[in-house]
């Protein structure tokens, strides 16, 4: 099922898939046109400011096929595999040749450590081809003191971008960038309506392509394509099968979703940063510009890494309801296991509402390294359909 022929017949979808499959093209074109490219590591780099600086943001991603020989020298075992593979591309020169700058947000412990290691690496081994780095030290607890601190932190980031850009970033430019990104988010939310509810017309894999392409291409162009594909998808056949919500590890490719869908399940939403969470909440243009940026990143849906268990329980209930899911798939990779602390209470809450669930823990990356995954997914699909467990 995954990506269906109806999608492949859509020109808009094909353009999005091209950007998703060939992730370096957008940045290369931008650089060729004299635009600086900023890599984003962590999921809380405020793109409003990057765009306002006239730069092109791209998301850092891992290459599962790359040897990690260099990385293994620097990182201890407890760095999760996906981040290890991202690190390899940062230190081996891959990103050194593709990016002008690297912006790292403290979205989770492991990313903070990556920043510290890269900073030290640049000090003790300056010959490594690591791009210039900046770090965005958000505070995510929702208290007045931390909201005010975040304004200071984001202002520092703005100043760094100004230094890199060699010019001032005006309030007007930030508002314009905010408007561009808000339109993009609204388009994605429109698209998501075709994933949610009883009539699902866009599969999880298709949605991953539509959303993920935006991390590697011009935002306005992405918005136009998302709008077009949403129109096209209104006539795509309704997907049949039990509707599930995905929570847990981020997936930078389609491998897991293809397996879930091959089992006959329909993925109607996820709380990951490569999925629905990435376009949650708009920039607020009515606030002072920096406050508006803070408002967007501080108050969007909770991430597993930076929220209390009680907040995560409520968040999952909310998201599952909104997506119209009948079941939930919990999935965590080995060494990326913070979310497991939320799961006992999340499962309990789901059970109280009659929502089925399945948990995959200590999973290997890439997905293909996990034996028995297909069988377990098939059994869960059977259970969801009312068959034997």
């Amino acid at each position: 099922m995954s990506i269906r022929s109806c999608a492949m017949e859509s020109k808009a979808f094909l353009a999005l898939k091209d950007a998703y499959d060939h992730r370096e093209k957008g940045a290369a074109a931008a650089r060729a046109a004299g635009v600086k490219v900023v890599g984003e590591l962590g999921f809380d780099v405020p793109e409003e400011l990057v765009l306002a600086a006239g730069m092109f943001p791209v998301r850092i991603y891992a290459d599962p096929g790359k040897s990690l020989e260099e990385t293994d020298k620097y990182l201890e075992y407890s760095f999760e595999p996906v981040v290890r593979a991202q690190f390899e591309k940062i230190i081996d020169g891959t990103y050194g040749s593709q990016l002008d700058y690297l912006a790292i947000s403290n979205s989770t412990d492991v990313i903070i450590r990556i920043f510290l290691y890269l900073r030290e690496l640049k000090r003790v081994e300056p010959e490594k081809p690591v791009p210039p780095i900046t770090f965005i030290d958000w505070l995510f607890t929702r208290h007045r003191l931390h909201q005010m601190r975040d304004e200071f932190v984001i202002d520092l980031f703005k100043k760094q971008l100004e230094e890199w850009a060699g010019r001032e970033i005006t309030d007007e430019q930030i508002r314009e960038a905010g408007a561009v990104l808000n339109e993009n988010r609204r388009a994605l939310r429109q698209m998501a309506q075709l994933r949610h509810g009883q009539e699902v017309r866009i599969s999880g894999s298709e949605a991953m392509v539509i959303i993920g392409a935006g991390f590697f291409m011009d935002k306005k162009e992405h918005t136009a394509l998302v709008k077009q594909v949403t129109e096209d998808a209104k006539s795509w056949p309704v997907l049949e099968g039990p509707r599930v919500f995905y929570t847990g590890a981020n997936h930078e490719d389609l491998a897991l979703y293809e397996k879930i869908e091959a089992a006959g399940l329909v993925i109607v939403g996820e709380d990951t940063d490569w999925g629905d969470r990435s376009y949650d909440r708009d920039y607020n243009p009515e606030l002072p510009v920096i406050r508006g940026v803070v408002d967007r990143y501080l108050f969007r849906e909770f991430s597993a890494k930076k929220a209390f268990v009680s907040q995560r329980v409520e968040a999952l209930d909310r998201e599952v309801n909104a997506a119209g899911a009948e079941g939930v798939i919990f999935y965590t990779n080995q060494y990326d296991e913070v979310a497991t602390w939320d799961m006992p209470k999340q499962r309990k809450s789901l059970e109280s509402r009659g929502i089925k669930h399945i948990t995959f823990g200590r999973m290997q990356w890439p997905v293909s390294r996990n034996e028995g995954l297909d069988e377990k997914l098939a059994a869960f699909a059977q259970e969801m359909k009312g068959g034997a467990q």
Partner: protein, 449 residues
């Protein structure tokens, strides 16, 4: 205590000769039972704090508390680990994740915690914690809010969290700045925020407990800590200057670590003073911890609680003495903040926000290890790299490189200080044997030439 457990594969006995070590062990038990009796008698508030929470506030406000990691060590020593492993599992949690930090949480699931068995023995560690009403952590890791939040929920306690920030300024000589020039050590905005965090915490505690945080008491507590840590500095400096050393890490780790949890009390000052005087008397008498001392070793990492005898296995064969660990040296270099009276809250902020930097962040840690290796005339470093917890990673590559570049041989290995299943005494002994023979002795001989 966990350190009194014998490692399953240990062949040599641990010799502890300092009275201060024994005194600390005895005191902590007396203190706990006294504190517990008071909490139960008065029915007042009782707090569980993560190790990096500024306990000085609680001391000044006379709010009873235990430190989560200290209590975890007690739970381990009382052999609760297996039971708690099962309780975590029964309740749907992964028992292998952050197990040290989650001991008190596991205890909160135990229905027998406050019961006695058929022989009248308490079933919980030391009869179990008093029921906490306050659960506080700093957000120095993603899981902290989860563990302390769940703990609070299970006990019906109130949760409070303190945020954490990352240093932009990274002075390589922080250990020279910490006591008197700490304003230079940090980004000003980090320090400003930490002071505001303290003010909010204090106000919250005042409302919660009905007690006032008298700034004069805080100043008194801070000065007691300066005095205590000052004795650790004298002790560390004394040991560093002795050839041979009068004591080893086996003597100092426990004496210091247990008393650190009591910092800010008159007992802790007296204890630190007695430790110094005891070590000085040994030094003055020319006592050698290892009479044939030839090689001086540095231990980087948490204490090897499950096999303390490990530290002594190289003394007779090589005259190799483990004479440095972070426990005494951190006391000496990381805690003292002079001129407290100028602004006690800012001085306290300047203490607590740095601990994560000093220990876990290159180049703060690596530059300090080099300075310490040089001050202590170290011949080789044995470095246990924590491999089970992202919060504990500390840039092992950079630490090793910095030391090796300074000409100090390093044996780095991955280990878990509290899990005997991951520790093989024979393998480790062979590894260190080989390290001493092939790296440390040649480096020492080269240094002597």
């Amino acid at each position: 205590m966990a350190q009194e457990q014998k490692g399953t594969a240990s062949k040599s006995a641990v010799v502890k000769k300092l009275k201060a070590t024994k005194a600390a062990s005895v005191y902590q038990k007396q203190w706990f039972f006294g504190m517990k009796e008071r909490v139960e008698r008065e029915g007042g508030d009782f707090a569980v704090l993560n190790a990096d929470v500024p306990m000085e506030i609680f001391r000044a406000m006379d709010i009873p508390f235990v430190v989560n990691q200290w209590w975890a060590a007690i739970c381990g020593a009382k052999r609760m680990t297996r039971k708690y492993f099962g309780l975590m599992q029964e309740n749907g949690y992964r028992p292998d994740l952050n197990s040290y930090d989650a001991q008190a949480l596991a205890e909160s699931f135990d229905p027998d915690d406050k019961k006695v068995d058929a022989d009248g023995n308490p079933m919980g560690p030391w009869g179990g914690l008093p029921t906490p009403t306050i659960s506080i952590t700093r957000l120095t890791g993603d899981v902290q809010s989860k563990i302390f939040g769940l703990l609070a929920e299970n006990y019906g306690a109130d949760l409070y969290v303190i945020e954490n920030t990352i240093a932009r300024t990274t002075p390589l000589n922080w250990y020279e700045l910490a006591a008197d020039r700490w304003e230079e050590m940090y980004d000003k905005d980090r320090l400003d925020l930490a002071v505001e965090e303290l003010k909010e915490l204090i106000r919250w505690l005042e409302m919660k407990t009905g007690k006032m945080m008298d700034i004069n008491k805080l100043e008194y507590v801070m000065n007691l800590i300066n005095e205590q840590e000052g004795y650790y500095k004298k002790t560390r400096d004394l040991i560093a200057s002795c050839h041979p050393v009068p004591v080893t890490v086996v003597d100092t780790i426990n004496a210091v670590m247990q008393a650190q949890w009591q910092r800010g009390t008159e007992w802790a000052v007296e204890h630190a003073k007695s430790l110094y005087e005891e070590v000085k008397a040994l030094a003055d008498a020319g006592v050698a911890a290892v009479p044939n001392e030839k090689l001086r070793l540095m231990w980087i990492g948490r204490g090897m609680w499950q096999d303390f005898a490990f530290y002594q296995r190289f003394e007779e064969k090589y005259g190799a003495v483990f004479m440095w660990s972070m426990y005494l040296a951190m006391g000496a270099d990381a805690y003292i903040r002079n001129n407290v009276e100028e602004d006690p809250l800012r001085a306290l902020a300047a203490r607590f926000i740095g601990m994560e930097d000093f220990l876990h962040m290159p180049p703060w840690n690596s530059s300090w290890f080099i300075q310490q290796a040089q001050q202590n005339d170290i011949d080789g470093v044995v470095y246990m790299i924590p491999d089970n917890d992202i919060q504990a990673v500390e840039g092992s590559y950079f630490i090793k490189k910095a030391l090796e570049d300074a000409g100090i041989p390093v044996l780095a290995f991955h280990g878990d200080p509290v899990n005997p299943r991951k520790w093989n005494a024979e393998t480790m002994t062979s590894l260190v044997d080989e390290f001493i023979e092939t790296r440390v002795i040649p480096a020492h001989e080269k240094k002597e030439r």
